[in-house]
C-alpha cells in the first residue's frame, strides 16, 4: 500500500506543478516549478526503493544489506539545493522582468491573457 500512496503523491505533485507551470504569469510558473521539483526529487528518491527506519549510517552493528540506498539520497540532496538556486534565478528574472517589461506576463503569443493585473 505504501507504494501506492508514494506514487500517487508524486503524481499529484507533478500534475499540480505542471498545471501551474503552464500559467501565463511569472510568479505562478515559479510556484509550479517548486511543486514540480518536489515531485522530481521524490521520484529520484524512489529509485532507491523505500526503506523504513534504517538510515544509511554504517558502523553501528547490524547488516548493511537492509539499510536505505544512499546513492539516490546523495543525488537528491544536491538536487534540492540546485532546485533552490534555479528557483532563485527564475524569481530574479521575474522581478527584473516586471519592471523592465512593465508587467509579469510571460506569454506574448496570447494577447487575451495580457491585461492589467489588479493589485
Amino acid at each position: 500500500m505504501t507504494e501506492v500512496f508514494f506514487a500517487s503523491a508524486i503524481g499529484v505533485f507533478t500534475a499540480c506543478g505542471v498545471w501551474l507551470m503552464l500559467r501565463a504569469r511569472t510568479f505562478d510558473v515559479a510556484l509550479g516549478l517548486a511543486l514540480f521539483s518536489y515531485a522530481v526529487n521524490l521520484f529520484i528518491f524512489a529509485m532507491g526503493r523505500l526503506t523504513f527506519g534504517a538510515p544509511a549510517i554504517v558502523g553501528q552493528g547490524g547488516a548493511t544489506a537492509t539499510l536505505a540506498d544512499p546513492l539516490p539520497q546523495a543525488l537528491v540532496l544536491t538536487a534540492i539545493v540546485i532546485a533552490f538556486a534555479m528557483t532563485a534565478l527564475v524569481l530574479t528574472l521575474a522581478l527584473k522582468g516586471r519592471f523592465v517589461n512593465r508587467g509579469d506576463a510571460c506569454d506574448a503569443d496570447d494577447e487575451t491573457r495580457i491585461e492589467d493585473s489588479p493589485r
Binding site: 498545471w19 523504513f52 554504517v58 544512499p70 487575451t112 492589467d116
Partner: protein, 929 residues
C-alpha cells in the same frame, strides 16, 4: 626533455608576452626571437641523432590508453626546423614591420602560441594530441589574421579561415578516431605500422575521406582554397609565416605523416593526385590575374601546395622525396617573397600591381632579392625551386597508370609549370619595371636595414641550396625521407642529369610561360582584369547565408515568445521520451515484488503525511491567484516532503529539504513584495482544460512509472558504498561520504552550478533600481516587532554553533557542508527579516562573492592536493589522531572539501536571497497620487 622544452618554450614565451604591456615592443620581440632561436639550438643538438636515424621519444600516461607524448623522427625534425628558423626570421621582420601603434605584445603572444601549436602538431606522438594542436593552430591563425581588429576584411578573413579549417579539423578528428578504432591505438608508432590492417578495413574509404578533408582544408586545396587569399588581410609577417611556410603545410605534413598508413591505394591516388593536379593548375592560372601582390602570392601558394599534394598522391617513394624536398624549397622562397611584398607595401603604401610599376629605380636591392626568389618559384636553373621541379617533372613522366592518364598528366604538369613562370614573371615585370608608379601616396625607398635581413638570409639559402644541394640540404632531406618512408630510395640531388624529359619539359614550360605573359600583356591588359567570374568567397557566403536563413526558420518555428507553450513542448517531449520505450518493451517481464517484500509503514502517520502533502499541493493550485496564500500552502507541501524523507530513512535529505524550504519561502516572499499580489482571472476554459489534460497525463505517467519501479525487485550498487564507507572513507554517514568522497567530482560540479547561480542573481540585480509607480502604493511599511528583533539577534550565534556542530559530525551522522551552510544562511536571513540586523555588523551586507571563489578554490585545492601526492584527482584520505584534552579526532581530507562546499552554499544562498531584499527602491506614490 629536449622535446618537452621545444614545445613548451613557445607557450611560456606566449604567456610572458601576453603579460607584458603593449609598449614593450623590443622586450617582447627579443623574447620571441630568442625562443625561436632556442628552438633552433635544441634542434641542432638533436641533429646528429636524427641524421643517424634515431627517433626521439618522451611519453607519459594521459588518459585511457592514450599517452601524452612527443616523438621526433627526421620528418618532424625538419618541419620543426622550418618552424623555428623561419619563426626567428619572422620575429625579426615583424619587429621592424609593425607600426608603433600596433599592440606588439599581443602580436608576439599570438605568434608564439602559434609556434608552440605548430611544433605540437609535428612532434605529437599520437593522433589525438596531433588533432588538439592542429585545432590550436586554427585558433591562433584566426587571432593572427584578425590582428588588425579594426579592419573588417581582416575580421571576415579570420572568420572564414577559422570556419573552413575548423570544419576540416572536425573531419580529421572523426577520421583519427576511426583510425584508432581500426588499429586499436592512437600512437603514431602503431598506426604507422598498421597500414595493411587499415587498408583491409571496410572503414578505409571513410577514414581516408575524413583525413583528406582535414588536410585539404588546411592546405587550401580546391575547393577549400578560397580562405587563403582572404587570409591575406593578416599582417605580412603572419602571411609569410603561417600562410606560406608553416600552417598551410600542416595538411601536406599530415599526408606525408600518414602516407605509410593511408597511402598506396587507387582511392588515395585518384583523390590526392587528382585534387593536387587540379589545384596546382587552377591556382597558377588564377594567380596570373590577381592585382593584389599578396593575392598573387596566395594563389601561387595554393598552386605549390597542389604540386606537393599531387606528388604525395602518386604512391611512389621518389615522388614522396620530391614532395618533401619541395616543402623545404617552397618554405624558403615563398616566405622571402612574402617578406619582400611586405617591404614594398611598407615603403610604398600599396600592394596593388596597377599602381606599383618601375620600382627598380627606387629599391634595387629589394628588387634583386625578389627577382632571385621569383626565379626560384618559377623553377629557374641554379635555384632550389629548379631541383624539386625537375623531380616533379620526372615523376609526372614516370607515372605508371592508365595510359590516358599517363599521357595527360605530363601535359598538365607542363602547362601548370608554364603558368607558374607566367605569374612569377608578372610579379617581377609588373612591380619593378613596366613604366612608372601610378598614384602612390609615398615616395618609394629602400627599407630599414633589418627589415631586409630576413629576406636576404632566405634568398641566400635559395641560391646555396640550388647550387650545392648535396652539401646543404642533402642530410636534412635524407632524414625526412627516412622518417616518412622508413627507408631511403635511390635519388640524386645533382643539378645536371643530362638532356632528358624533365629538362625538355622545363625548357618548354619556361619558354611558353614567358611568351604567354608577354602575349597577355599585349592582347589583354592584365591591369584591366578586375574580377574573376566565380569565386570561392561567393560560394562560402552563400552557404553561410543559407545556414543563417535555415537557423532563423527553425527559431521561427519554435514558440519562443510564449513560456507556457515552451514548457508544454518540454513536458510533451519528456512524456514521449518516457512513454515510447515503455510502449515498446512494456514494464519488463520481472514479476512484482513478493507481498512480504512490500514494506508497511505505520498507517496513521503515513496517511497523515500523505494527506498533508496532497492537500497542500492541491491548495496551492486552487489558490494560485492569491499568491501569499499559495505560498503558505507551498511551504506546507515542502514540509510534507521533508517529513516523508524522515519517514523513509533519509535524515540528511529531511534536514536539507526543511532548510531549503525556509530559504525558498523567504525568498519568494521577498520577491513577491516586488510583484503583483494576485494573478488575474483567466479567460478561456479551453485553455485551462487543455493545460489540465497535459498536467494530468504527466502526473499519471510519472505516478505509474514510480509505482512500477517501487514494486519491482532490483539490484543496487549501494552495497559497494555501504561496505567501503568505513574502511576506505573513514566515516559512517554514507550519504555524506558519497557527496564529499566517492562522488566528490559530481559535487564539485554541483557547487560550481550553485555558485554560478548565486553570482548570476547578484549580477542581474546589481545596480538595479526599483521604481514603484502609484499602482503599488499600498506596500506596508510595518515596523518590525520588538520581540522578533530582539530574539533574532540571539539566534545568529546559536545558529552558528549548530552549523559548526552539524558540519563536524557530518562525516559520521546526518549533517555536513550542505546542511551546515543552509543553517547558517537561514539564520542570517531570519536575522535580516526580523530587523535585528540593522546595525553595522549586519552579516547580510557582507560581500559574499569572494566566498564562492574561495570555496571553489578550496574544493579544487583538495582535489589537486591529492594529485600532488600522486593519487588521482580528489582522492580522500583520513586519520584519527588523538589530541590532548579533546581526545580522538576523526580527520579526513574530505572535511576540507566539505568546508569549500559549506562556503559556497552559505554564499550562494545569501546572494540569492539578500540581493532582491536589499534592492534600492523608491516610492513616489504620495507625491504623484
Amino acid at each position: 626533455m629536449l622535446l618537452i622544452g621545444l614545445v613548451l618554450l613557445p607557450f611560456l614565451a606566449s604567456i610572458a608576452c601576453a603579460a607584458m604591456p603593449n609598449t614593450a615592443r623590443s622586450a617582447t620581440a627579443w623574447l620571441s626571437g630568442l625562443t625561436a632561436l632556442g628552438g633552433c639550438v635544441l634542434l641542432a643538438l638533436a641533429a646528429p641523432g636524427v641524421f643517424s636515424g634515431e627517433i626521439f621519444r618522451i611519453s607519459m600516461p594521459w588518459f585511457a590508453n592514450v599517452n601524452f607524448g612527443f616523438r621526433m623522427d627526421g620528418l618532424a625534425w625538419a618541419f620543426a626546423l622550418i618552424i623555428c628558423a623561419i619563426g626567428a626570421l619572422v620575429v625579426l621582420y615583424a619587429h621592424y614591420y609593425l607600426s608603433p601603434d600596433d599592440p606588439a605584445a599581443r602580436f608576439f603572444a599570438f605568434l608564439m602560441a602559434f609556434m608552440g601549436a605548430m611544433l605540437g602538431v609535428v612532434l605529437a606522438d599520437n593522433l589525438i594530441l596531433l588533432v588538439v594542436f592542429w585545432e590550436m593552430t586554427s585558433v591562433s591563425s584566426f587571432l593572427l589574421i584578425g590582428y588588425w581588429t579594426h579592419r573588417s576584411d581582416a575580421r571576415q578573413g579570420a572568420r572564414m579561415a577559422l570556419t573552413v579549417t575548423a570544419m576540416g579539423g572536425l573531419c580529421l578528428l572523426g577520421g583519427v578516431i576511426l583510425l584508432g578504432q581500426i588499429t586499436g591505438s592512437y600512437s603514431l608508432d602503431i598506426v604507422l605500422g598498421a597500414g595493411e590492417a587499415v587498408h583491409a578495413s571496410p572503414l578505409y574509404p571513410v577514414v581516408l575521406v575524413l583525413v583528406l578533408l582535414g588536410a585539404f582544408t588546411k592546405s587550401a586545396q580546391f575547393p577549400f582554397h578560397f580562405w587563403l587569399p582572404h587570409a591575406m588581410a593578416a599582417p605580412t609577417p603572419v602571411s609569410a609565416y603561417l600562410h606560406s611556410a608553416t600552417m598551410v603545410k600542416c595538411g601536406v605534413f599530415l599526408l606525408a605523416r600518414l602516407y605509410p598508413t593511408l597511402g598506396g591505394s587507387d582511392l588515395w591516388f585518384y583523390m590526392v593526385s587528382g585534387t593536387g593536379l587540379f589545384t596546382m593548375t587552377f591556382g597558377a592560372a588564377v594567380a596570373i590575374f590577381q592585382q593584389d601582390l599578396k593575392g598573387l602570392l596566395a594563389y601561387s601558394t595554393i598552386s605549390h601546395l597542389g604540386l606537393i599534394t599531387f606528388l604525395f598522391g602518386l604512391d611512389s617513394p621518389l615522388a614522396v622525396v620530391a614532395g618533401l624536398f619541395h616543402i623545404l624549397n617552397h618554405a624558403t622562397f615563398k616566405a622571402s617573397l612574402f617578406m619582400a611584398a611586405g617591404i614594398i607595401d611598407h615603403e610604398t603604401g600599396s600592394r596593388d600591381m596597377r599602381q606599383l610599376n618601375g620600382l627598380w629605380q627606387f629599391m634595387p636591392i629589394t628588387a634583386t632579392l625578389a627577382m632571385v626568389a621569383s626565379a626560384s618559384m618559377a623553377g629557374v636553373v641554379l635555384m632550389n625551386g629548379f631541383l624539386s621541379k625537375e623531380m616533379f617533372f620526372a615523376q609526372a613522366v614516370e607515372l605508371d597508370s592508365h595510359h590516358l592518364i599517363e599521357m595527360i598528366v605530363p601535359i598538365v604538369a607542363t602547362v601548370a609549370a608554364a603558368l607558374g613562370v607566367t605569374y612569377s614573371l608578372r610579379l617581377i615585370h609588373d612591380v619593378f619595371f613596366n613604366g612608372q608608379p601610378v598614384g602612390l601616396t609615398k615616395t618609394p625607398h629602400e627599407p630599414p636595414r633589418w627589415l631586409r635581413v630576413p629576406v636576404e638570409v632566405l634568398v641566400v639559402v635559395c641560391i646555396v641550396v640550388g647550387v650545392i644541394p648535396q652539401w646543404t640540404v642533402g642530410p636534412v632531406l635524407a632524414a625526412m625521407v627516412q622518417g616518412t618512408l622508413g627507408m631511403r630510395p635511390e635519388y640524386s640531388l645533382a643539378i645536371w642529369h643530362g638532356v632528358n624529359f624533365p629538362l625538355v619539359m622545363s625548357v618548354i614550360a619556361g619558354t611558353a610561360g614567358i611568351l604567354f605573359y608577354f602575349g597577355l600583356q599585349r592582347y589583354i591588359n592584365l591591369h584591366s582584369v578586375t574580377r574573376l567570374p566565380v569565386s570561392g568567397k561567393h560560394a562560402f557566403d552563400a552557404v553561410v547565408g543559407w545556414v543563417e536563413t535555415l537557423a532563423r526558420k527553425v527559431v521561427g518555428w519554435l514558440p519562443s515568445t510564449s513560456l507556457p507553450r515552451n514548457l508544454a513542448c518540454l513536458v510533451a517531449t519528456a512524456f514521449v521520451a518516457m512513454a515510447w520505450p515503455l510502449w515498446q518493451n512494456g514494464f519488463g517481464s520481472a514479476p512484482p515484488r513478493a507481498a512480504t517484500d512490500v514494506l508497511t509503514v505505520p498507517p496513521l502517520v503515513g496517511l497523515l503525511i500523505w494527506l498533508l502533502g496532497v492537500a497542500a499541493a492541491i491548495a496551492v493550485t486552487i489558490n494560485y491567484r492569491q499568491r501569499l496564500t499559495a505560498l503558505v500552502m507551498l511551504g506546507a507541501a515542502g514540509l510534507a516532503v521533508s517529513v516523508t524523507f524522515v519517514l523513509f530513512s533519509a535524515p540528511d535529505l529531511a534536514l536539507t529539504q526543511l532548510l531549503v524550504e525556509v530559504a525558498t519561502i523567504a525568498l519568494m516572499m521577498i520577491v513577491l513584495h516586488f510583484l503583483p499580489q494576485t494573478s488575474p482571472v483567466e479567460r478561456g476554459t479551453a485553455r485551462k482544460l487543455r493545460d489540465a489534460g497535459i498536467a494530468g497525463v504527466a502526473g499519471l505517467g510519472l505516478a505509474a512509472v514510480a509505482y512500477a519501479v517501487l514494486t519491482r525487485p532490483f539490484t543496487s550498487i549501494a552495497p559497494f558504498y555501504l561496505a567501503h564507507a568505513l574502511p576506505d572513507g573513514g566515516g559512517t554517514n554514507v550519504v555524506n561520504l558519497i557527496l564529499v568522497d566517492f562522488r566528490a567530482f559530481d559535487t564539485m560540479g554541483e557547487v560550481a552550478v550553485l555558485g554560478a547561480a548565486g553570482l548570476l542573481v547578484y549580477a542581474l540585480l546589481a545596480g538595479f533600481h526599483v521604481h514603484f509607480d502609484h499602482h503599488d502604493a499600498d506596500i506596508a511599511e510595518d515596523w518590525n516587532p520588538l520581540l522578533l528583533r530582539t530574539v533574532t539577534r540571539v539566534v545568529l550565534p546559536l545558529a552558528a554553533l549548530v552549523a559548526a556542530f552539524l558540519f563536524l559530525r557530518g562525516h559520521n551522522l546526518p549533517g555536513g557542508g550542505f546542511i551546515a551552510g543552509l543553517v547558517l544562511a537561514c539564520a542570517i536571513l531570519v536575522l535580516r527579516i526580523g530587523g535585528g540586523g540593522r546595525t553595522i555588523l549586519d552579516p547580510a551586507h557582507l560581500p559574499y562573492q569572494p566566498w564562492i571563489a574561495g570555496g571553489l578554490v578550496m574544493v579544487l585545492a583538495t582535489g589537486i592536493g591529492s594529485m600532488v601526492l600522486g593519487y588521482p584527482f580528489l582522492t580522500s584520505t583520513f586519520a584519527h589522531p588523538v589530541l590532548p584534552v579533546i581526545g580522538e579526532v576523526p580527520l579526513a581530507s574530505a572535511a576540507l572539501f566539505d568546508l569549500g562546499v559549506f562556503m559556497i552554499v552559505v554564499a550562494a544562498t545569501m546572494l540569492a536571497t539578500i540581493s532582491p531584499a536589499l534592492l534600492p527602491q523608491d516610492h513616489d506614490a504620495e507625491t504623484q497620487a
